[in-house]
């Protein structure tokens, strides 16, 4: 028994130096190769935004921009083809509002489920879980008709409201809030706090981590969403930035340079936010999502 245990460990030691070097080489080679695959399209997006269509469609393919032109950015920001700055602002308004509303609704319902016993709770939980499985595509047509009837077509509210009730968010916040100790609340009640006060002064601050994760998730979804804003928003002044960029992809002509420039401008702030809070956001985000 003992011998058998020793042998593999022994050979492990012996191969170590040489094999470790080989192993490390392979590991880094794979990682760098993948980094290249991921990175090159981004690089091409960046350099392509300084190229004319003629330069993009020429040989040999050049990942850099040897003769950069600012023309794409000038035309994009001057609003000559699309009101791009306005569309970026629209995207910000929609994404921020949607995040705020989703967070508010989700944390309230999560709090209700986590910290109270009430009639119908079990039924509502099962009901919510059951409907959770229904894909949103089912609702698209009636939702659109409703938006038309309510006069919300081509308005930001028409985009924001239907997206602000997230069953996922409700569950997520319930999970986060259920661990808040009940003694804290009882103490608060003795001190004369209202139920709303308990939620606002204890529940919210103690689940800040979960709220920030949900906020990032909702914000990213709203910022990059295409389908629902495409259905609701009707005029270029009200478009979000992805719809605006898609309109530059025309029947006879594709304004690649302008699209790539616009894509770069829209992606950069998000990347910077993630770089700034990288490890925290990334860890929480994935752990939060996996734990859902």
């Amino acid at each position: 028994m003992r011998l058998a245990i020793l042998r593999p460990a022994d050979s492990n030691e012996r191969k170590s130096l040489y094999m470790k070097l080989v192993e490390a080489t392979i590991i880094y080679a794979v990682l760098f190769f993948f980094a290249l695959l991921v990175g090159i399209p981004f690089l091409y997006m960046f350099t392509g935004s300084f190229k004319t269509n003629g330069q993009l469609f020429s040989w040999p393919v050049n990942l850099l921009a040897p003769e950069p032109t600012m023309n794409n950015y000038e035309r994009l920001l001057s609003g000559e083809e699309i009101p791009y700055l306005r569309q970026m602002v629209n995207s910000v308004i929609i994404a921020v509002s949607q995040s705020a509303l989703t967070l508010l609704f989700a944390s309230m319902v999560g709090w209700g489920f986590a910290k109270y016993e009430f009639r119908g709770k079990a039924f509502l939980t099962i009901f919510l879980l059951f409907t959770f499985a229904i894909p949103f595509q089912v609702t698209l047509v009636p939702l659109f008709q409703m938006i038309v009837r309510l006069g919300l077509l081509d308005s930001f509210l028409g985009v924001i409201l239907p997206s602000s009730v997230s069953a996922f968010g409700a569950f997520f916040m319930r999970q986060a809030m259920v661990s808040i100790p009940g003694e804290l609340l009882d103490a608060g009640r003795i001190d004369g706090a209202s139920e709303w006060g308990l939620f606002w002064r204890i529940g919210i601050p103690l689940s800040r981590g979960a709220l920030s994760i949900l906020c990032v998730l909702v914000f990213l979804t709203a910022w990059n969403d295409y389908l629902w804003p495409l259905i609701v928003l009707r005029t270029p002044e009200n478009f979000t930035y992805p719809i605006g960029l898609a309109t530059l992809d025309g029947l006879y002509k594709v304004e690649y340079g302008m699209i790539l420039g616009g894509a770069f401008i829209a992606t950069l702030p998000i990347v910077l936010i993630f770089v700034a809070g990288r490890n925290q956001i990334l860890d929480n985000l994935t752990i939060g999502a996996v734990k859902q």
């Binding site: 609702t139 990059n224 960029l245 894509a263 829209a266 999502a289």
Partner: protein, 295 residues
């Protein structure tokens, strides 16, 4: 405003959400079921009751629907079969001890995930361009492979979309797996090694079974994501899915019928068909995972 009544407080807390949920989700879900039994073209025309005609037409006469369904399934299978092993491999590498630049790689692999589908669709239009594109010129030409007509040859369109999916989603899935790996107590693996297990054996018999919850999560997200696929292929090959409609997904098909041709009843029937498909897939997946658990 909530007073002190612990009786009514919970209802006040949950009501904003449930009112919104009822208006913007439950009502449309029911309305959609009703509408799917009607023929309605346009927003203002009167709907006409036609029973199961829309559904019958979908499965028996609508070749495009069947095509969209098979395209989407192709994408789901293809992307999952590539992404999951690849992501697992990357996660194992990223998890190896004393790795330098770990955070840099992790962040870089994650970035495609925060890029809008429209933007990805446009960039990959250039990546897969036949004559001047990156894949043909930088990857295939050095290997002596002739230009592949990625976006024109209907056989290559879905592979192109799948590669786009691999680019966009492998990183985030690798990060999910990393979380799973971190949660595996190192003692378990060490114990196995001590018992004489080789590395592959440890992987198969210790690591993989313990990753099962993460695997289930990744698969669920991937399946739902596949059936939601819209912006990327719509931009990459056009709203009709390009040559032979090879890039048309279920959601694109629903959008085209409902919001371009304004066939409201028909589009509702497509939505419900989609729901049934996802339901069936979820049940199958549950059964499979349960079966794994028993062995």
């Amino acid at each position: 405003m909530f007073g002190r009544g612990r009786k009514i407080a919970p209802y006040l807390f949950i009501s904003p959400f449930f009112v919104g949920y009822a208006i913007f989700f439950l009502y449309p879900v029911i309305q959609s079921l009703q509408l799917s039994f009607y023929r309605q073209v346009g927003l203002t025309n009167a709907p006409r009751f036609i029973g199961f005609d829309n559904y019958i037409r979908l499965v028996s006469k609508d070749a495009l629907f069947i095509k969209a369904l098979s395209n989407t399934t192709y994408y789901a299978l293809g992307s999952i079969l590539i992404i999951v092993p690849l992501a697992l491999l990357l996660a194992l590498i990223l998890h190896s001890p004393k790795l330098r630049f770990r955070e840099f790689f992790r962040f870089l692999y994650f970035t495609p995930n925060i890029t809008a589908g429209v933007v990805v669709g446009i960039i990959f239009g250039l990546v897969f361009e036949e004559q001047y594109g990156l894949v043909n010129n930088l990857l295939l030409a050095p290997l002596g492979i002739d230009n592949v007509r990625w976006l024109r040859d209907s056989r290559w369109i879905m592979p192109a979309v799948i590669l786009l999916g691999v680019w966009k989603w492998t990183g985030i899935n690798a990060i999910y797996f990393m979380v799973g790996l971190q949660n595996i107590p190192p003692e378990l693996k060490e114990a196995a090694r001590v018992d004489g297990a080789t590395r592959p054996q440890v992987f198969w018999h210790v690591t993989l079974p313990l990753l099962r919850p993460i695997l289930a999560f990744v698969l669920t997200v991937a399946i739902i994501g596949s059936y939601n696929l819209f912006a990327e292929p719509a931009i990459l090959v056009g709203p009709e899915g390009g040559p032979n409609n090879a890039g048309m997904t279920m959601t694109m098909y629903l959008y085209n019928r409902g919001f371009r041709e304004l066939k409201m009843g028909y589009a509702s029937a497509i939505g419900y068909s989609l729901a049934v498909i996802i339901l069936i897939l979820s049940v199958i997946q549950l059964i499979l995972i349960r079966a794994f658990r028993e062995d």
